[in-house]
Symmetry: D3
């Protein structure tokens, strides 16, 4: 059964790493068909060979979706996703690259409108097999504050 | 052949709308398998029936990916994607909802480090069949400045 | 092991029927992503509701591909596909329709350039659950003539 | 918003080219599963190595579907697809080939039964990265004749 | 980082439950295309309506694959899969059913050929939303025995 | 039309072989997404390079599902699947391996509870391009006994 993790239980600086996954040509073909984005940078190997990158690159939205998906290991019933700030496509991801996601709690704040919630910001860094960060975003989660009894113990 | 659209050719306030698409159960199943995010909000109809939404909701990363994909109609060889600011998941998207994306140029700025580029910010609003905005983000594009001859004419 | 069926062994008027298959929303979503054809007749339920058909219709290329695929039961190592004549999209196929393909040998002819081959034309009729023909095409196959020994026996 | 292009606005000899796309192993696996055609020419690399082509080839129905899909860039609300004549599989398409579609208006004719429509025939040539035509078909489209006012201006 | 769980650390009678997932029409279409099994019980809604079940049923191999996949939550680097005994398809799974997997350690034994390994048998019960077992199998895992130091503590 | 093959018509020792199919990276990516099993042995090429196998291996459930799917050529309306005994994952299947399934009738028995049915056990051996058995299972099928008239003739 999923266990609620409340706002008070998040610690700034806490960090965790996701499992890893190799990005395949299949992922790019699936993402193109899933989103309708058939830009030649992603689906035309001849075109891509003449770009500075020299080969096809993964869609930014795919690296983001898979990167966030890798981090989605445990359901937290006390939390929902509010959005992302400063999502940046830092380096290209190529077919055959192996990525994982590093999550660090970087900020906690009360929510201006909902007193029973706090905002927890997790920095998501998608990292390739050479240790290079390829994508970064600040994931803002709305997290319930702990019920009274739990809060005093926490 | 794709035509370059240079930084000078973007006008603040200019707007365009994408084509439309109905979000299907298939899209959600594909996205879960594509990203590995099998959270019950997306893939367990019984669980979802007991949430406030009452039914399964699309992944935020999917609404983002398809919303941006819908907007990716014409390749601009003078532009690349830098990132997104203030990505917000505003309303749930359900199976059967029909979405499109409205893009508005909201900001133009020189790039602090690359004088031959400017930053064009396009607000992306993903809108459902009732006209409600379900997702918003500010897409930052790096766009080449026009070569001398073109710039003077532009 | 696949068995060769030679030109002489095809009989005009011979007929066979494929297995059956229900066309699903999944098939349409997969075909849109596979081909990049996201026309609203196929992927926008709201748009489709306002057309004379009243609902989404399958892509013509999909009905053709699945119809021909249903007929592809046995490999004939003595035959290859030359092309199709008079491919016609006769009636719409909707989500939930169940189709099969009826194949009839309608013509046999020597090939003008390759004496060791003959052309066998098979009429392919894709039929729905109400017995209505939804697609028709004349499939032209190049089929080897039988080696001497077999020909005399045949 | 899609713009209607009427029968009178098509010019014989007019030509356009689609975007490009590399055919991948994924496309062949997806097409086999989508259509149920698992013939060894497409899905058995060992078998294919012993054929004259020396490697797996794309399904004819797939080259047709993707070729037509590449050409489906703009919805024309005044047009629907009637069928194809003389569809021919001219050369094999291999994994890694990059294709696009060249469309040329080759014929215009009144429709014998529907006076408010004309038939526009577009030759579709699917071309690989060496400029070789791999598939050709004559796409017959039923196109509305222009309303009075527009026709006089056109 | 995955943590090794050694043979000695498995306890007969220990039980755990997987997350849940609704089986969709998409899953059946994907599985048919993935495996090439287009039997009408799975892909022909009209045929299925006339069977005792009254509707399409999921492939047994799919319920098994998804059931085992649901249970594959944590990698155990000290274990690999040997096989399954007494796999039984007990009840049909229909589109819309929501399943999860219950795993119980039912047996532990030395491996007759590999002294450094033991066999752990986990009973896998795939259960639907009404609490009915739809599939059962005894999963035999080869699990390393703990290194000396760990064994004494364990 | 499918033809019923009754219990009496199965002969112990009878054997048949399926068609062949090359396992692709696409199959593994599809299976991971279909089942949710993203274990690094299957989806992380870097991890797999450091295992004794040296590369990614197919999921056992996938080799089973495709192996059984390859064998599912003809519907037998007088038969349904009861389960499998002694399913064993004998050798790894790698990307690029070409497999087929060999089926041998190994046992026939009355069903203890249903007199009108018998149990036919078919040994399924999935074999790779080097003739090595990679997976084996004993498929137990419940097969109707022949109606009186047919039984006497059989």
């Amino acid at each position: 059964m999923p266990v609620a993790v409340y706002f008070e239980q998040f610690t700034i600086g806490a960090t965790r790493s996701s499992s890893t996954r190799t990005i395949t040509e299949t992922d790019i073909v699936v993402h193109a068909g899933h989103t309708g984005d058939f830009f030649p940078h992603h689906v035309d190997a001849d075109f891509a060979a003449k770009t500075p990158f020299g080969k096809r690159i993964a869609h930014g939205t795919m690296v983001f979706s898979i990167g966030i998906g890798l981090a989605a290991a445990e359901v937290n019933p006390a939390s929902f996703s509010y959005g992302h700030d400063r999502l940046r496509f830092i380096r290209p991801v190529f077919i055959g690259d192996t990525i994982h996601t590093r999550i660090t709690v970087v900020e906690k704040a009360d929510d201006p409108r909902k007193p029973q919630y706090g905002r927890v910001t997790e920095r998501c860094e998608v990292v390739n097999q050479r240790g290079e960060t390829v994508l970064v975003s600040d994931h803002i989660r709305m997290v319930e504050k702990a019920p009274e009894g739990i809060r005093q113990v926490g």
